[in-house]
Each structure stands twice: as C-alpha cells, then as structure tokens.
C-alpha cells in the first residue's frame, strides 16, 4: 500500500473498523512512514477534540411528554370526528339528491329547490331561421343606404349654400374693385389733365 491508500483507511484503522489484515498492512506502513504517522496523530487529535464535547444536560419531562401525547391523541380524535361528520353529511346530501330527486337550481335570478322532480328535459335546440336572418340583414343594408342618401343630400345642400356665399363674395369684391379703379382714374385725370393709352392706372 502506498501513502494515499493508507491515508484513506486511517479513519477506519483509528476507530477499529479495519479488519485484521488491513490493520497489519497499515501498521507495517506506519512503521516506516513518518508522513502517515503524522496524519494518524492528527486524526487522533480530532478524535480527542470530539471526545471533549460534553453531553448536553437534557432531562426529558415525562409528565409533559404524556400530556403532550394526550393532547395529540385528543386533537387526532377531534380531527377524525370532524372527518366522520363531514363524510356523513356528504353521504346524506348524496342520498337526498339520488333517491328523493331533490333539485336545487338557479332560475331567473332566484334559487329553486324542489323534490320528486321529473328530470328537466333540455329545451329543444332552436332551428336556425335563415330567412329571418336574411331579412334582418336586408333591412340593415336598406337602413344604411337610406342613411347614406340622407347624408349625401345634406352635404349637397351645404355645398350649394357655400357656393352661393362664394358667388356673392366674388360679386362684392368685383364691385369694390371697379369702384376703386374708377376713383383712381378720376384722380389721375384731375391731376394730369388727360388720360393717354398705356398710362397708369
């Protein structure tokens, strides 16, 4: 055995867990190996340190222990009783539902409780009324078209009013322009005496 192998077995050797042949081999190695002997001494030091730890002074209070156990048993019994009551109640409810045909349901905003009820047949599925749907769709399209026409008419009226106002503004501005032109011409004649072609204004 080399040092590495011996050192992995020193703990077992120290605590008497090595068998006779292992012990013999280790002791032979230790006799000629100061490093492993030192290692063993260090482990013995650790063992000594562990031995120094005093057992904590703990005293189990038997009376408290029995009280604790009694309390636990009582809690357990209460839990079982609660469980038994719950199961009994659940079984009773199941019995009422299955054998007395009790029914509790929510109908139009109120709770309805009944017994000996015949099973409620589900409402027949409504047949799809395609004609009504198509009619509703047609009405909707017409309404939309009428609405669009109405909007178009209003838009046309607004446009006509706007055009009339624009024409009126143009006429007014032309009249003002003509008046201003005449005024300027009169001033020119008064100042220069005659108005020749090409002269301003």
């Amino acid at each position: 055995m080399n040092c590495e192998q011996v050192q992995t077995q020193l703990a077992a050797y120290l605590y008497g867990d090595a068998d006779k042949s292992q012990r013999h081999t280790i002791e032979q190695h230790l006799a000629s190996c100061p490093a492993c002997t030192r290692e063993l001494a260090e482990l013995q030091g650790v063992r000594g340190a562990l031995n120094q730890v005093a057992a904590p002074p703990v005293h189990v209070d038997l009376a408290a222990l029995y009280r604790q156990e009694g309390e636990w048993q009582r809690r357990r019994l209460r839990r079982w009783r609660r469980l038994a009551w719950t199961l009994t109640a659940a079984a009773a409810v199941l019995f009422l539902i299955l054998f007395l045909r009790v029914e509790v349901r929510w109908d139009r905003g109120e709770v309805v409780i009944g017994w000996n009820m015949a099973p409620v047949a589900p409402p027949p599925a409504a047949a799809p009324d395609l004609t009504a749907d198509v009619n509703r769709l047609r009405d909707l399209v017409h309404a939309l078209a009428a609405n669009a026409d109405h909007n178009d008419q209003r838009r046309d009226l607004d446009l006509a009013v706007l055009e009339a106002r624009l024409d009126e503004l143009l006429a007014r501005s032309e009249a003002r322009w003509t008046a201003a032109e005449n005024g300027l011409r009169a001033l020119y004649v008064a100042h220069f005496g005659t108005l020749t072609k090409g002269d301003a204004p």
Partner: protein, 183 residues
C-alpha cells in the same frame, strides 16, 4: 441485571410505565448529544429531545424487535433533526459566546472546546456530519448505519473518512493551537 432495550420495550408495551421511563433515562443524553452534533441549536435541544421521545411513545406499538433499538430510535431522531435544521436556520455563532459550563465541573476551556467542535461540525456537509456523529458518539456500526440511512456501508465508510479529514481542517482553521492542546 440490566434489561436490554428490547426487554424494556416489551415490558412497556405490556403496560409497564416504568420500563418506558428507564428507556428514556438511558437514551435521553445520547439523543441530545447526537442532536447537538448534528447541528441542532443548543436552545432547541431540550424541546427536540422531548419530541423524539414523544414520537417513540407514539410509534411504540409499531416497534419491531427484529431491528436494533438504537437504529430504530435514531431513525426517529435523524428525521426530526433534519426537519428541525431545515425549518430553523442555525443561529450564527457569536464570536464570544458565553462559555457557560454545562456541568458544574466543566471548565471554561472545556466549554470553549465544545463550542469550537460544534461550530466545526456545523460546517460539515450534512451527509458527512451525520455519519461522523453516529460513528463517533453513537459508536454505531456501518451495517447498522447502512440500514438506518439507506446507503451502502462502503459509501458510509468513505464518508466517515472524508468527514474526519475535513473536520481536522476546519478545527485547524478555527483553532490553530488545537494540536498543542490535544497533546
């Protein structure tokens, strides 16, 4: 002649309350020391040791004399210790924890040595610490430990060797003069 643990268990199951008391007195110190070595805080040791015996009381009817009483008892203790250390983080070790002697005869040095060893043990990984404490303080054999922890004995032996080696390093780092004190 001192009754074996099996005999005491049998007597207790037949209604002899004194047999249970004898068992408690026989094992309470060892259970407490195991819990302390495992890393349970000192202030919780009393309650947890008490809890171990409450569980023993509760599990008594299911006790099988085929296995060793020690392994059965420590199975309960290991489970509780694991729960306790998982639930409650260990209190940080104060630099100057009052070195109150645990027994009137214990010296301040002994208390300090105990504190250092427990501090070093607490720093070991749980699988190593568990094997070390069971082997050293409980003198539990590796086959018994194997049944208790559900790991092969050879694995546990390796863990034990590793634990001892790492504890040495930890103790050296915590108290460099350990060797001089020990020698």
């Amino acid at each position: 002649m001192e009754s074996t643990d099996h005999v005491l268990m049998e007597r207790w199951r037949q209604g002899d309350a004194r047999a249970f008391e004898e068992l408690v007195r026989r094992w309470e110190g060892r259970v407490a020391r195991f819990l302390a070595g495992y890393g349970v805080r000192r202030d919780l040791l009393g309650d947890l040791t008490q809890e171990v015996f409450v569980r023993v009381l509760r599990a008594g009817p299911r006790y099988e004399p085929r296995s060793s009483f020690q392994a059965w008892l420590f199975q309960i203790a290991v489970n509780l210790a694991r729960d306790a250390t998982r639930r409650r983080q260990p209190a940080p070790w104060p630099e100057e924890e009052p070195a109150t002697p645990r027994e009137p005869s214990a010296t301040v040095e002994e208390a300090e040595a105990t504190r250092l060893v427990e501090q070093a043990l607490a720093q070991l990984p749980e699988p190593l610490r568990l094997v070390l404490v069971l082997r050293h303080y409980e003198d539990m054999s590796f086959p018994d430990m194997s049944r208790l922890l559900g790991a092969p004995a050879s694995t546990l032996k390796s863990r034990f060797a590793a634990a001892l080696g790492r504890l040495r390093v930890l103790l050296e780092s915590l108290r460099p003069d350990l060797e001089e004190t020990e020698r």
